[in-house]
């Protein structure tokens, strides 16, 4: 078969074409460098369909764009969202912790001025220590003595200092197994023996027929006039001669960051003093909180002021 295009001719032609393209490209590039806005505009117009397609595939919510998106990009997106959630969760946790710490410190700052106390940081808790003990960061150097009561909040006593070193102390919690004392339960208003069960739980033992319910407050009048905790569960078997109420302190031991320590050991109280303490507590429970009264009186004054001002306005 005859062909007029020989390889030598073809090479010559292709070199000419290459030369033409190279020269044209160089001219266009130089023109583009001289007039960049012109070439940018032309490119934007020519590549507009490509741009639209790219945007549709990258950001579109349709079935096809979602299908075309690579698994890697979706996994990366999920990972970044998880990281965001973890970060925001951590921030919220920090805020909660600081709020709790703030509330505890505020509570201790408002502690009864009659008794001088120290604020101590909790170094170790029952989950970290083998027994129901707290380790606090105050010792004999700060004035802590054996037998001093330890409080959470204003008046909730949780234990007694049992071991003191120069810089730290150990607190035996009332929920330690073997601890025994006398508790007073508000509601049925009865005295009852209380015994530590371990794990932050104490138990009161009462005969059948005494009405104890969940939520009733319990105090240890022999130790402090403050509230110890509340009954969280009642175990009552009608066939048994006794019923049990399980008590926990108002704040879980794992949440304790600060406690306050009395500077003097608990004095042994006589039964008369204990009766007096309970009577005072009962009387106190009938009183309204002064801050509540102030709120009511303030709101009433504001209402009267508002009424007066509206009357004056209408007259004018």
């Amino acid at each position: 078969m005859y062909s007029s295009t020989k390889k030598a001719n073809y090479r010559q032609n292709s070199r000419n074409i290459l030369r033409f393209w190279l020269v044209t490209s160089a001219v266009v590039i130089c023109a583009g460098l001289l007039f960049p806005w012109l070439i940018s505009t032309i490119s934007a117009v020519v590549l507009y369909p490509v741009h639209v397609t790219t945007a549709w595939i990258k950001d579109g919510d349709g079935l096809i764009p979602n299908y075309l998106r690579t698994k890697a990009s979706l996994v990366a997106e999920v990972e970044s969202l998880r990281a965001q959630i973890a970060t925001s969760g951590g921030t919220q946790l920090s805020i909660n912790q600081l709020t709790e710490e703030n509330m505890q410190l505020r509570g201790m700052a408002n502690a009864a001025p009659a008794e001088k106390r120290l604020v101590a940081r909790v170094l170790a808790r029952p989950s970290q220590l083998p027994y129901d003990l707290l380790q606090i960061g105050r010792g004999s150097k700060d004035g802590v003595v054996i037998g001093a009561p330890v409080y959470t909040g204003v008046d909730s006593v949780v234990g007694i200092v049992v071991y003191v070193t120069e810089n730290y102390s150990f607190v035996d919690l009332f929920t330690s197994p073997g601890f025994e004392s006398t508790a007073f339960i508000f509601g049925p208003n009865v005295f009852s023996p209380i015994e530590g069960m371990g794990g932050g739980v104490a138990r009161v033992r009462l005969p059948q027929g005494v009405s104890i319910k969940e939520g009733q407050m319990v105090i240890l009048p022999g130790v402090s006039s403050g509230v110890y905790g509340e009954i969280i569960r009642v175990e009552n078997e009608p066939t048994q001669p006794e019923q049990y109420g399980y008590i926990t302190p108002p704040l879980a031991m794992n949440n304790l960051l600060y406690v306050s320590v009395g500077l003097s050991a608990v004095q042994v109280k006589t039964s008369t003093e204990i009766d007096e303490t309970v009577r005072n507590m009962l009387r106190e429970s009938f009183r309204l909180d002064t801050s509540t009264l102030n709120n009511y009186s303030t709101s009433t004054e504001e209402a009267v002021d508002l009424e007066n001002s509206s009357t004056t306005n209408s007259e004018t």
Partner: protein
């Protein structure tokens, strides 16, 4: 059919360069250069540089395309099995 395939490849190259999917663009460009003269790639490169406003600085993609297309078209005839000058081609 061959023209249609070339057109599709060119469009995919343009799209992948605009979308900056280089792992797709580079092999396609090399394949296109191996199979064709590839002068269209210079045009595509100039347009993409214009799209990204590279002409306000230095249009690297265009320069690279010119260099690559020139080099490939100069080398390609040397790699042919038959180099006789009087051989008839279609």
């Amino acid at each position: 059919m061959r023209t249609l395939i070339r057109l599709i490849i060119i469009l995919v190259i343009a799209w992948s360069l605009v979308a900056q999917i280089f792992f797709l663009a580079v092999p396609l460009c090399l394949y296109y250069l191996a199979k064709n003269d590839g002068y269209e790639l210079i045009l595509i490169a100039i347009l993409v540089d214009g799209y990204y406003q590279a002409f306000y600085h230095t249009p690297f993609l265009s320069i690279l395309a010119v260099f690559l297309v020139g080099l490939v078209n100069l080398i390609k005839p040397q790699l042919l099995m038959y180099t006789g000058d009087n051989e008839a081609i279609s």
